[in-house]
């Protein structure tokens, strides 16, 4: 039981996909101009992650090793298309706020990474826990980013105006430059709190997804 609990909680802090293993940076930076969008993106990604982890761990013994990556990509994109339809029908506001980044969930490396590293090697039950944990970790990271950027950049939080800040909001925080800045600071703080050294380098060689991307070696 305790090992199952570990599968669930590891994604939230210890192996947080965005802040510790540094995957899925594109949506983390792009959609977090508002806290609500961060939650929306996080939950949409969690849905896709859960679906793909379940299906991939079910078919792991049928799929030949040499064609596994194309198969995973098709499964993932199938779930992306489903969530695209669902959001368009039921939450059209969020659908247009996420825009191009909704179909781009399909190439979010967190999902392919979990499929390759975890779901293709573990049972369905564990894969579900892993997906939920990773999804929560990703959503929390996006929510934190969105909260900071919305409070400082728009003087509001979840649409509620904040008295002093809303008079002269620092627009730079909701602009692209602010996204990079806030993410850098959040990663520094999280690693400080976790008493870990911040990851030295983002490089393809150290990336847990290197195998999935097909990187053959370091550069050169």
């Amino acid at each position: 039981m305790s090992s199952n609990l570990k599968e669930l909680t590891k994604g939230i802090i210890k192996e947080n996909p965005t802040l510790v293993t540094l995957l899925g940076m594109c949506p983390t930076l792009a959609v977090t101009t508002m806290a609500a969008n961060g939650i929306g993106m996080g939950l949409a990604t969690t849905f896709v992650l859960l679906g793909s982890n379940i299906v991939i761990s079910l078919i792991k013994n049928i799929v030949p090793k040499s064609v596994r990556l194309p198969v995973y990509i098709v499964v993932i994109t199938g779930f992306v298309t489903i969530i695209d339809f669902l959001l368009k029908a039921y939450i059209p506001g969020l659908h247009s706020a996420l825009g191009i980044f909704l179909p781009l969930i399909a190439v979010n490396c967190i999902i392919l990474g979990r499929a390759e590293v975890f779901a293709s090697k573990n049972s369905v039950g564990k894969s579900i826990l892993d997906a939920i944990g990773m999804g929560i970790g990703f959503t929390l990271a996006l929510f934190t980013m969105g909260t900071i950027r919305e409070i400082f950049g728009a003087g509001a939080w979840m649409g509620m105006k904040i008295p002093v800040l809303s008079v002269n909001p620092m627009l730079i925080f909701i602009m692209p430059a602010g996204g990079f800045f806030v993410l850098g600071c959040v990663i520094a703080v999280v690693n400080k709190l976790a008493k870990k050294k911040p990851p030295k380098e983002i490089s393809c060689a150290n990336c847990p997804n290197a195998e999935a991307c097909g990187v053959k070696g370091d550069n050169e």
Partner: protein
């Protein structure tokens, strides 16, 4: 002609893929450490973006749209790009070995680079003509290369700097990216 030029310029500078649309951040941060690899990656991205547009645009307009299958575009595009990159790799290896040597390492990486899928989807969303779509892809690729080159210069200067312990490594890299992105904001409203 003028229209094509405007599309290239705006994709390259104003709507820069990395610094204002946040696409392809992984490769932007991963490959920008050395100027040589930045040039190789940039060239590979320009090449694949243009080629991917040349293939996906006709597939969408001639195959998916007339049959009411627009919703399959993400799936179709991903498969086309992945297939196509493999094909390019094999062909280059056989026919132009020097080019393969220069770009080869970066080609597989590109399959999961969201800028490639992004540019093909944006071409459709913006309802560009075929020529416009190719120009958009070309400008986008050039913009990616420009950002990568500039940033690799910044990073090589940063290596000798004394950074606070907590910010060493990735955090300071992101903050440097923020400043480079700030400089690109100057292009906003140019056109």
């Amino acid at each position: 002609m003028k229209e094509i030029f405007v599309i290239i310029l705006s994709a390259m500078l104003i709507d820069n893929f990395v610094l204002s649309k946040f696409m392809g951040i992984c490769s932007f941060l991963g490959v920008s450490k050395k100027i040589n690899s930045a040039v190789g990656m940039g060239a590979a991205v320009v090449f694949v973006m243009v080629c991917a547009t040349l293939v996906t645009f006709p597939v969408y307009t001639l195959l998916l749209e007339p049959n009411g299958l627009e919703y399959l575009r993400t799936l179709a595009f991903i498969l086309i790009i992945a297939l196509f990159v493999q094909l390019v790799e094999i062909v280059l290896k056989k026919i132009v070995p020097p080019l393969y040597k220069a770009l080869g390492v970066y080609l597989p990486l590109i399959t999961t680079n969201c800028a490639i899928l992004g540019v093909t989807l944006i071409n459709i969303d913006k309802e560009l003509s075929f020529g416009g779509a190719v120009a958009n892809a070309f400008g986008g690729g050039l913009g990616f290369t420009l950002a990568l080159l500039l940033f690799s210069g910044v990073r090589s200067r940063m290596e000798t700097c004394n950074v606070p312990e907590t910010f060493k490594g990735v955090p300071i890299t992101l903050i440097a990216a923020s400043i480079v992105s700030l400089s690109f904001m100057g292009f906003a409203g140019m056109l």
